[in-house]
């Protein structure tokens, strides 16, 4: 009976204040989608940077004056001693030509000597944020002719990621607060409509937990509805937007995280935010009535 009573009371209140309940769910959905979208954007940029870090090798070309392969190999410790270099792999001019030929049409290379290729090192960095600095240091090593690095986008992606992270954190805090405020005020309507019942409950000795519960249930139901709807909306939105992005810039390095890889996390976070906002909104809405 008690559980039935509580759940019935929670739902009764939601339908009594239908419009406000609808508005609350809508605002929670909107807040969650904004929060989720910036977070997913941030995640994607992170993944992109990771990709760049993995695949974006810095190629250090050895000067032609160091024609001898053994002499070129002697540069290895100097390159590895540069800060931020995580690994350096020597590639001889012959190996470079072989790999070139395997990648492209081998007939192009007919009659061409491997001398046109330079000895080189494939260098990986620990942190691409310091790529320009590292590039300068590598170029300063005697015997190094030139360093190829995709500086521009590495740098700008790091900047974008930092900005997006800060913006999303600020947004998340603000929007959680907004959701909580709206939720609390909607449930306050319900407590106001039932203030006499609440006063009587207090007088006959109902516990605060018991009096609070229908309002917490109301908050939970609204919060979970918001979380569930936001998840569905985010799913659709994400697929549409990423479909566009991939569609327009195919063939580039952009690799979008598929929604199914993050669906569980998004769902869990949305539900958790909905549940917390709902529960605390309910508790907050009724607290003034429980003082007597």
């Amino acid at each position: 009976m008690r559980l039935g009573y509580l759940i019935r009371e929670g739902f009764r209140s939601i339908t009594t204040h239908g419009f406000m309940s609808f508005a609350t769910v809508t605002i929670i959905v909107a807040c969650l989608i904004i929060m989720g979208s910036v977070s997913l954007l941030s995640l994607n940029i992170d993944a992109l940077i990771k990709d760049l870090e993995d695949q974006n090798e810095v190629v250090v070309f050895v000067d032609e004056t160091v024609a001898d392969e053994a002499a070129a190999r002697d540069l290895q410790p100097y390159i590895e001693s540069v800060a931020n270099v995580s690994s350096a792999q020597f590639v001889s001019r012959d190996e470079a030509m072989d790999s070139f030929m395997s990648k492209y049409d081998a007939s192009l290379m007919e009659g061409i000597d491997s001398d046109v290729f330079r000895h080189r090192y494939i260098v990986h960095l620990s942190d691409i944020a310091y790529m320009s600095q590292t590039k300068l240091e590598l170029e300063a090593i005697p015997g190094v002719a030139k360093v190829n690095a995709h500086l521009d986008y590495a740098q700008s992606f790091v900047t974008i990621r930092n900005v997006v992270t800060v913006v999303s954190l600020v947004l998340i805090v603000m929007l959680v607060f907004v959701s909580f405020f709206i939720m609390s005020n909607t449930i306050k309507l319900a407590t106001f409509g039932r203030r006499e019942e609440i006063a009587i409950m207090k007088m006959v000795g109902a516990t605060n937990g018991f009096i609070r519960l229908p309002f917490v249930v109301e908050g939970l139901v609204l919060g979970m509805m918001g979380g569930g709807l936001a998840f569905l909306a985010e799913w659709g939105l994400y697929n549409v937007v990423t479909g566009r992005v991939v569609g327009t810039i195919t063939g580039t390095f952009i690799n979008v995280i598929p929604f199914r890889n993050v669906a569980l996390e998004v769902f869990a976070v949305y539900m958790a935010v909905g549940v917390l906002v709902g529960a605390f909104g309910g508790v907050n809405a009724i607290k003034n009535y429980l003082k007597v």
């Binding site: 009976m1 006063a199 009587i200 207090k202 007088m203 006959v204 000795g205 018991f210 007597v292």
Partner: protein
């Protein structure tokens, strides 16, 4: 049971001394009228008993609970030993008579079976048998207050406190209602009734405690307003 010793209550907000140096004892099973002019502190004294306000100084003990130091989370347990009746009935408008009374049992977690047995019995006792399905708006003032009394009584409290329960009723209904409270008292429940209706008090020969300007000015077992 109520025990008050040198109780003083000051409302900070209006800087009013509502009660000053009040001491009194109400034993289990007593019927007591609490009388005095408007603004003399009667409601404040009732609120000290229900725990709605706390004494500024002095001791208040109600049904074995020390109301001057009681923890807020202990209040529900204490209030289950009390039945409170209000001047304006305070019924829930959108619930019928039966549900208004059953509500008081539901919210303290009484089992359904017990509610189904107890509510009709109490409604019969207060003279409302057959009115279960009526809404409060369809009842006379006297009937509404009977619902209020049924609700106060349904959880078998040790004491009923009623602050001007007949304040909105005509003299005949008032007398009938007081007779009902007397009947409840005779069944073993302590009853404390606040009123300022002289004729009503004088129609019974009960203990009368008089307060004036926040002080106890009379306590007579002879009955009669102001000890007359």
């Amino acid at each position: 049971m109520v025990l008050m010793q040198n109780v003083r209550k000051v409302y900070e907000s209006s800087n009013t001394v509502a009660l000053d140096n009040v001491s009194l004892t109400i034993e289990d099973g007593e019927f007591v009228f609490l009388v005095g002019p408007s603004g003399s502190g009667k409601t404040t004294l009732m609120k000290l008993i229900t725990g709605e306000v706390r004494p500024t100084s002095g001791k208040v003990i109600v049904n074995d609970f020390d109301m001057s130091t009681i923890k807020r989370r202990k209040l529900p347990k204490m209030r289950r030993t009390l039945g409170v009746v209000f001047q304006d009935y305070r019924l829930i408008e959108n619930m019928n008579v039966y549900d208004n009374v059953a509500f008081a049992m539901r919210v303290v977690g009484a089992p359904n079976r017990e509610i189904k047995e107890r509510v009709p019995y109490i409604l019969e006792l207060v003279g409302l048998g057959g009115r279960e399905k009526r809404m409060p708006g369809e009842l006379s003032g006297g009937e509404q207050q009977r619902v209020g009394i049924a609700r106060a009584l349904v959880n078998s409290p040790r004491m009923i406190v009623a602050d001007e329960p007949t304040g909105n009723l005509d003299p005949v209904r008032s007398l009938e209602l007081m007779l009902l409270l007397e009947k409840i008292n005779e069944m073993g429940t302590t009853v404390v009734v606040v009123t300022h209706e002289k004729e009503l008090v004088n129609a019974f020969s009960k203990r009368v405690i008089t307060i004036d300007c926040g002080e106890k000015t009379g306590d007579s077992n002879e009955g009669g307003y102001y000890g007359i």
